[in-house]
Assembly symmetry: C5
Homo-oligomer: 234 residues x 5
């Protein structure tokens, strides 16, 4: 597991937390410009050699990440940058994670299970170690069921689910458990569900997530870990 | 013959199948953005030196491939990238295959025999070893007849036909036989007609295709090979 | 403290004022093209190596600066250039200041406190030493209060306030004092409020600003410094 | 004299015809996208160093060529590429020919004598050895007369006329004679008028063109050469 | 003083006129595409190293020039290229002249005195040795008066006036005298007013211009020089 951050954050804070393994996210955008104004485009801000330079200066960097907006009018630019990053990262011993989200005027439903499977397939053809996608949604279907298409399309690429918007911890852990045990996801990328909790609660929540992810802990035990009634360490 | 794959697939799976000769496809796109939204543009994702790096690390790579959308508003970008790739590939001893498809707002009929001949002529002027095109269609004309214009336009560049959508195996083999014996194509690039069959049937179908392509086997014999009633090996 | 100038000005005037520490502003634009015609885009004009060349030829250069228009359709270009500049500047021992202004068709209110906090957060994720932003404005709210969100979002990046349009010196010093003592800004970038005063008055005003910034001088004392009734030197 | 071909054709056929001196045409486009859809843009596909590489491998290359669409919205790209090519070609001892055609939404009349003179002037300012232009046309004016403006504008750059659409051989030779003896063109670039004739007739036609171009043969003699009644060799 | 020419002209004619000092103009455009179709963009065609190459081969090159269209939607590209050229030219001992013209859909009045002053200020911030601008015009104002704003804005950058359209020689010399003695311009860039005169008259006109520019000759004496009644040599 590692913490996904922009290079600037890594450079300014990384030496204060040398035990935290880092993933450097190489592109990013604001959400001000909406799709109906211009299709999404997020460009590479640093290259892999620059990341290696940060690593060689002592930062605990394990991986690089990059977002591709599948179906954007600019997907050609992002697919080319992603491909270059993966090639260079693997030559230098870094793992790669692609965030792939279907988005743009051509995308009617960003949570469509087939599109998300396509995103996983793209990550596989680009050779990424991991891909982070949204959890599919379909009226009348169980997400963990329709998600298996994505897991299969990803082949040897591990699938990580986006944590999504803040939800009740128990619901979150139940969903996570199904993603991993039923659908076959290899992990979860959680942001707001951790950041927006008080510190102790956040730590316990991380432990609960880790227990589900690494040793398939059942949900009720995971909830106890979250409540501080049990502990979990790797 | 070789298997056309993206570089990422080659990197992740190639070492598991060292006997399969590979063609690395250097560009790709999704089909989400339609021509009426934006003319097609597919960019080079890796360069030939990076492909050589994969080859030097042990992958069984024979060729590189690249798609040009003829008649797209962005054909200038793709023609320039194709030209650079062919130049570099030939210097390093790799074969080249161009996929050339007329597509874009300016293209009224993607299967027009003259446009497909133009695609073959372009591949020839760009110096590619092979070109993959769609099989032309014209109301009231036999495709294998109007296809000869394309074969002539290709000059010393070998013409390969796209397999097209899934069809009945016998129809497929008949069409293939005419492409090769009447029109003069040098081969066929088959995808869905193989991928979407069970494994044994797919292997037999590959053998049938190979027998037609390499030794001009007649259609009824080829159908027997497909049915497993006869065998064919190179 | 240092004087922010374009590279050309530094090259032509810098050797005449060797005691003035310089920040080289690496991009710039005119205000002729308005946002409703085209979203703002300001490109890097020199790179950090060229700045180092000027420095090695004797110019007193401490820092480089770059403007990002957050929410512009071209923010991807400016974020990528800013990131590259910060990486290279820090490797060569230069400080960095980002000017980040929300601007473009997607930006309804350029002085919105949350957007300005977002600008500060972006500067932090890009790893800049300092960020210069506009002072937020909200009907019925005290700017120094809503500005604290921006200071927090900036993390370890120091926040500098834009001086804004010319105002009464006492009002200016009061506002500055609140920016620094209440909100937590680390400084102020002042242009017109100095340039458009007579020389002696401008010098006294600089001293007054410095006293507030560096030793938290109270406003009435600062006004006296501005009036030449007291002196201040670092 | 030399044969203008794309690099790919040269690479595949050049070694079969070692006596034919070649001009490598460095850009090209299809005519599918019309000017009302998008102004013409044709990009450089290989650079001069790559051409030298082909030459050093044994191809009989004398010159490089490039097309500029004067008045296109993209003329800036083509003028910059043409300039770079001419600079590099001359350093490496290759001759240069620019094809310059006024074309685009801003061009009302592509055969306007002043625009064609402007094309010749542009070739001169870019430093090309030769420029190929269309023969001007004006209601009520003799083309060979209004063409002298272009010859003058070209200065030390030799002007070559486009052969144009297929015409009667006698008319062609008369027009050619006037282009060379009246207007001052240095030669002619002929395509379809040769390619679309049977081989013997085409050879005789080439000889007739050469006799007019190199020794100012009168038209009636040139027609005899074309008819095989007389011979001409350099 | 020097003659401003494109690199191609310099390469083809420069060695025939070794005594004429040359300024190589590094960008250029036609006037076919009007501002209402597309804002002006003129790109760098050669770089400073290539100019040095021409100089090292014997051409008498003193300076390089580049045009920026201030207020164009593409000013960012031209400002970046101008900046790079000035930096490189100064490192290699060449002088620089920027042609800066406000032009584009956002520019209501290209001769506005404040915009022309802005052009001069831009040249100064970019560090150019000289800037060539149009002479401002305002209903009811004397151009030489409103032009002083531009001279001041230029700082240490010398201001050169565009010669403008062909006018009566006496009017031209009067205007020039005021530009230099009243407003403070350092020179004048004259084209059509010289090119479109017979040779002897043109030479005398050049001498008259030189006498006004270099030794502040009064207008009536300058007119005599133009008429051949007096001589002037540097």
């Amino acid at each position: 597991s590692c913490l996904a951050v922009q290079a600037g954050l890594a450079a300014r804070y990384g030496s204060s937390y040398p035990d935290v393994p880092l993933l450097i996210k190489l592109n990013s955008k604001t959400h001000l410009v909406k799709t109906d104004q211009k299709d999404p485009l997020s460009r590479r801000m640093l290259n892999v050699d620059q990341v290696m330079d940060l690593k060689n200066n002592g930062l605990n960097i394990l991986a690089v990440g990059y977002t591709v907006y599948l179906g954007s009018e600019f997907e050609d630019t992002m697919m080319a940058e992603a491909s270059e990053i993966i090639f260079n990262a693997h030559r230098r011993g870094l793992l790669t994670v692609l965030w792939i989200y279907p988005r743009g005027k051509a995308v009617a439903d960003e949570k469509d299970a087939h599109l998300i499977a396509g995103a996983c397939g793209m990550a596989c053809t680009l050779g990424s170690d991991f891909v982070k996608v949204n959890y599919p949604k379909k009226e009348g279907a169980k997400s963990e069921k329709i998600f298996t298409e994505a897991i299969q399309a990803a082949g040897r690429t591990g699938v990580i689910c986006a944590g999504g918007s803040s939800t009740d911890p128990k619901d979150f852990l139940e969903r996570l458990s199904k993603q991993i045990t039923v659908a076959g996801a290899v992990g979860n990328a959680t942001g707001r569900n951790i950041h927006q909790k008080p510190l102790t609660e956040a730590i316990n929540f991380c432990k609960a997530i880790a227990s589900v992810t690494f040793i398939d802990t059942d949900v009720s035990t995971a909830v106890k870990i979250y409540n501080g009634e049990r502990d979990f360490n790797i």
